[in-house]
């Protein structure tokens, strides 16, 4: 086991430099350390000016996504040991504008997420006094995988379509839309369809499939998108062949 390992960290300080640079840091190598631990070590012990996002360090908050040696991962789940003998190249999430160092601008994603109405739209609002909207375990199972999304944006970084066409609403937003569409308490399908099947929606997807490959929560956004393509096509044919059913 080596004593230390080198991290080549992407630095971008807009007030100082036009173009980003890479800075090397040598950190202690520990078997139980993940890349995020190494970044925290740099921040605490070597260079306090390094900026990055993190919070829970246990794969729940979705804040610490970065590119490690070119792959989009959660740094709290990326053990240093995997990358021996190093160096490990740490970059901000690809396909997003960089604000500073490893911090990306995410308001584009937040706006897109909002566009799909990621909440339950009941057919009829019940007064609170009538109690919960009940659901069976089977009905829960329909959408549960999609509800595991932690909004970490790794799928956007892995998606070349989003890289080339930043207008694309993107894998997570569509998977989350499906999370509500497939919930039997929800009646917002039509409202979401306007967003999902427009020019910036599902039809941009060419099924590269990398969104599902990088997802740390096995959400399978690629599957969600292909399923929705079938739904949207069926609805389109229905509206043409049976206009009275609308």
């Amino acid at each position: 086991m080596p004593e230390t390992i080198t991290l080549e960290v992407f630095r971008y300080r807009p007030e100082e430099e036009q173009e980003p640079t890479f800075q090397s840091y040598e950190v202690p190598f520990r078997k139980d350390w993940v890349v995020l631990d190494a970044l925290n070590h740099i921040k605490d012990e070597i260079d306090g000016s390094l900026s990055y996002r993190w919070s829970c360090r246990m794969g729940v908050c979705g804040s610490c996504g970065m590119m490690i040696n070119g792959d989009a991962v959660l740094t709290c789940a990326a053990f240093l040991e995997t990358y021996l003998p190093g160096p490990i190249r740490v970059e901000p999430l690809a396909n997003f504008p960089v604000v500073r160092d490893l911090v990306i601008e995410m308001s584009d994603f937040m706006e897109k997420l909002n566009r799909v109405s990621p909440w339950i739209i009941p057919a009829e609002e019940k007064p609170v006094s009538e109690g919960e909207y009940l659901q069976t375990p089977d009905e829960l199972e329909d959408y549960k995988p999609y509800s595991m999304c932690i909004n970490c944006m790794l799928c956007y970084s892995a998606c070349p379509v989003f890289g080339l066409e930043p207008g694309f609403i993107g894998p997570a937003a569509i998977a989350i839309a499906q999370r509500y569409n497939l919930d039997n308490r929800d009646a917002g399908n039509e409202q979401r369809m306007e967003v999902l099947s427009d020019d910036e929606g599902i039809w941009q997807c060419t099924l590269v499939g990398e969104c599902s490959a990088v997802c740390p929560k096995s959400v399978d956004p690629a599957g969600a998108i292909q399923r929705y393509k079938v739904t949207a096509t069926t609805e389109w044919w229905k509206s043409k062949l049976m206009p009275w059913s609308q």
């Binding site: 070119g70 601008e105 308001s107 070349p160 890289g163 080339l164 207008g167 099924l207 292909q226 399923r227």
Partner: protein, 138 residues
């Protein structure tokens, strides 16, 4: 709609990198994706060959004989061999992806992905056999 609607005023200068044209050469899954997209050209090639075949049939016995002779030239044979490999790759990957788009249920049990893909492959095989039977015997 603007993609960056908020915090414009106080936000510092961001750094944006454009994707290079050859973005797909760096990672095997990306290269494999582009390769699969390119196999569509050979699907189109087969469609065009079929149209030319029909056209030669309509143009009379001589044109038809000429076309059949062209099909047996080394160039045509080589083209067909490459196209066959490409179209097979295209079809196999296509049917393998079917379970991604199709979620079917019997009662409350979800039909497993391999069964959906298997049914697609079986249908493909069946139609190919029927076509082969028509072409070779009728």
């Amino acid at each position: 709609m603007s993609h960056y609607p908020r915090y414009k005023k106080y936000r510092p200068r961001v750094y944006s990198k454009r994707m290079p044209i050859f973005w797909w050469v760096r990672k095997w899954p990306h290269a494999r994706f582009i390769l699969r997209e390119l196999t569509s050209v050979f699907v189109a090639f087969y469609a065009i060959v079929l149209l030319l075949h029909v056209r030669s049939l309509a143009a009379g016995p001589e044109a038809y004989a000429n076309f059949m002779a062209w099909l047996q030239t080394p160039v045509a044979l080589a083209l067909h061999t490459v196209a066959l490999v490409m179209v097979l790759y295209h079809s196999i990957t296509w049917f393998s992806l079917a379970p991604k788009a199709m979620v079917l249920r019997v009662g409350r049990t979800r039909i497993p992905g391999w069964a959906i893909a298997g049914a697609n492959f079986a249908a493909w095989g069946l139609f190919s056999l029927i076509l082969a039977w028509i072409v070779l015997t009728v």
